[in-house]
């Protein structure tokens, strides 16, 4: 299933300067009972965002009208824990198209790439620059360029490059997905399957 194409994104960003943000915070398990991929954004960061009586926690960043945008900036080791793709779906469904951190958990990173959310890993120092810039001015815009593989703080011109493999870059840029690729080499897979001993 094709997804949104990603080329260059210019947006304000929402800062979440907490380390080891785990998938149970991103989307708690009790919200994993859906059988379709929709509506998960309402429960993104549910227990950090809402009190147990469902009133908003005013000190949480998603409830602070100063901050908005299509980019989420998280602390080191973002997305650790579960393989639940629902975490990436919740990030997407809320409206984010890019997550920036100094380190990502493997499965979460892969899940983001598979649904068209761009995970951007920057150095710890650059991450601090981004947090500082947003703290100084919540309207700070970031430019994430996939073709150039750079992220830039537009107000200061500070920029850093990020890694992504050519294959995934192509998929993100064109909105392709892996299954289409795999179906095109179905014959090879079927031949390979015959060689497996068990």
């Amino acid at each position: 299933m094709a997804y949104d194409k990603f080329t260059t994104l210019t947006s304000t960003a929402v800062p979440l300067p907490i380390e080891n943000v785990d998938t149970d915070q991103i989307i708690p398990a009790r919200f994993l009972k859906a059988t379709e991929r929709k509506g998960f954004g309402d429960n993104l960061f549910r227990d950090w965002r809402y009190n147990q009586d469902n009133t908003p926690k005013t000190d949480f960043v998603l409830n602070d009208s100063k901050y908005s945008g299509k980019i989420l900036v998280g602390g080191k080791n973002f997305g650790s824990g579960s393989s639940r793709e629902h975490a990436a779906w919740a990030v997407y469904d809320y409206g984010f198209r890019c997550v920036i951190s100094s380190f990502f958990a493997d499965i979460f990173r892969g899940n983001c790439l598979n649904i068209g959310v761009l995970p951007v890993q920057v150095s710890a120092a650059f991450l601090q620059k981004i947090f500082a810039a947003i703290e100084a001015d919540p309207n700070t815009e970031l430019e994430v360029s996939l073709p150039e593989q750079t992220v830039t703080i537009l107000a200061t011109g500070d920029s850093e490059s990020f890694d992504i493999n050519d294959y995934k870059k192509g998929n993100m840029t064109n909105g392709f997905d892996d299954i289409d690729y795999l179906l095109n080499i179905k014959g090879d897979i079927q031949e390979f399957a015959k060689t497996r001993p068990f």
Partner: protein
């Protein structure tokens, strides 16, 4: 002469269908397990594309995450859970996949039943939409958790696309002390590496401690590989492995077994093979462990005091936030903290050996009045063994009840939720905020530590109770 290879390289390389330049490998998957929570959208994807499952005989479905652990003979009361279970059954039937649903004699937690029925074999690639799929690495398989898009990929093409991880070897030498279990070994390793210390790596566990470990213990250790960020962990198959799998329903038989054995006996790391990272620890220094924070890396010897924020790696603000959630102070002793709940179970510690360990401590004692205990076998097979071995009698005598199989309070998708603010000693795998129910506080520990807490009502070094028994 061919290059020296690690165990991981041998298994991975033999499954690569295609290599994409500057991209991932196309990896063939031998065994695929699905459960009700992470599969519905994948099946929906197949329907939208109008394609079938390529190899239904290589996929196995069981219901576990969302199932009640009492009164399983009754209809599931929660309509959302019931709907997810119904979807799994319908999808399995429609696509010709083996389905071990609620009430089926083979039902249980996906990572418990896979090995029990011999679906898990050495040298295989095994995936499931669940991060604790790493469990199956105990058999010398490459096993790891995948997202729902990848579940769809495997259903559609029996392949996934993954960049090859780096290799790490963790050696634990020597002999474990009395009262120290595989769970303690795993929590110790994670406390040393932190929750992200093995991200990007696939781990091989080696050394005498693992050589001398049972399959159940190896599964516990490999299960927790993901908690230090590793995609998976594996242990070279040996006589312990072959003895465990021989004769199980889905393992090869007769000539096929002999042929498989010829291959399996080649599955070890060649001498002088290179790892990207190698760590060695002295197993005799490991003590019973307990966690005090909100990720599995925040663990320590049960006798220690909670570290102060200046002693820990990483951000002090994140550390303080974590202790604040736990309602603990820096420098607190864990021993003696009153607890409210005990959970024995999960894909980490829901096997027969875990129930034997728990029973060894509660035998002749009584459950503490302030403790609610949930004892949840990992499968019906485990449940039967508990009954056959007389463990149920010991548990009943001590005031405990046995529930029916499922993931239960590990992730609290069903009704087994620890209430807000309550403190649980849990044999499961994650102590994240709210993991066992909104506002719940979790201490991860071994079945021995859980049993000691269950009978004393507080955090207790299990060796204290075991000494009495030995005298």
């Amino acid at each position: 002469m061919s290059a020296k290879k690690t165990l991981f390289d041998k298994v991975w390389d033999s499954h690569v269908v295609h290599q994409i330049e500057n991209g991932p490998d196309v990896l063939f998957i031998d065994r695929h397990m699905v459960h009700e929570v992470t599969s519905p959208v994948a099946f929906l994807g197949l329907k939208n594309r109008g394609i079938r499952v390529m190899h239904p005989e290589k996929t196995f479905a069981t219901a576990d995450h969302n199932t009640p652990t009492i009164n399983q003979h009754l209809p599931v009361a929660d309509p959302l859970s019931a709907n997810q279970l119904k979807m799994l059954e319908e999808n399995a039937n429609e696509y010709g996949i083996s389905y071990w649903g609620l009430g089926h004699e083979k039902n249980g937690i996906v990572h418990v039943v896979g090995p029990e029925y011999g679906i898990t074999v050495p040298g295989a690639t095994i995936v499931c939409g669940d991060s604790h799929t790493s469990t199956h690495g105990a058999f010398g398989a490459i096993a790891f958790g995948i997202g729902t898009s990848e579940v769809e990929m495997v259903l559609a093409t029996q392949c996934i696309m993954q960049p090859k991880p780096k290799r790490m070897r963790i050696n634990i030498t020597g002999e474990l002390q009395f009262g120290v279990t595989p769970k303690d070994v795993a929590l110790f390793i994670i406390s040393q590496l932190t929750t992200s210390g093995a991200t990007g790596y696939f781990v091989e566990y080696a050394g005498d401690v693992f050589k001398n470990m049972t399959m159940e213990g190896r599964m516990t250790v490999c299960n927790l590989s993901i908690e230090m960020g590793a995609r998976g962990g594996m242990i070279a198959p040996d006589e312990t492995t072959f003895h465990y799998i021989k004769g199980r329903e889905f393992t090869p038989k007769g000539a096929a077994w002999d042929k498989a054995m010829d291959y399996w006996q080649t599955l070890y790391t060649d001498p002088d093979a290179i790892f990207d990272k190698e760590l060695t620890f002295d197993g005799s220094l490991i003590e019973p462990m307990i966690t005090y924070g909100t990720n599995p890396g925040m663990g320590m010897s049960i006798k220690n005091d909670i570290p102060t924020s200046d002693m820990v790696q990483g951000g002090a603000s994140t550390y303080k936030k974590s202790l604040q959630y736990m309602k603990f102070d820096e420098g607190d002793s864990m021993i003696g903290k009153p607890i409210d709940f005990v959970f024995l179970g999960s894909c980490t510690n829901g096997r027969i050996e875990d129930f034997r360990a728990f029973a060894s401590i509660v035998k002749g004692r009584k459950k503490a009045d302030n403790v609610t205990a949930w004892l949840v076998p990992g499968s019906h097979k485990v449940e039967s063994a508990i009954k056959e071995e007389g463990i149920l009698d010991i548990l009943t005598e001590a005031g405990f009840e046995l529930r029916e199989p499922g993931c239960s309070a590990c992730l609290a998708m069903n009704d087994d939720k620890v209430p807000p603010g309550k403190l649980a000693v849990s044999t499961s795998n994650r102590n994240f905020e709210g993991r066992q129910g909104p506002g719940s506080r979790t201490l991860l520990a071994s079945p021995l530590v859980a049993a000691a807490a269950a009978v004393t009502g507080k955090v207790t070094d299990p060796r204290e109770l075991m000494k009495v028994e030995m005298a």
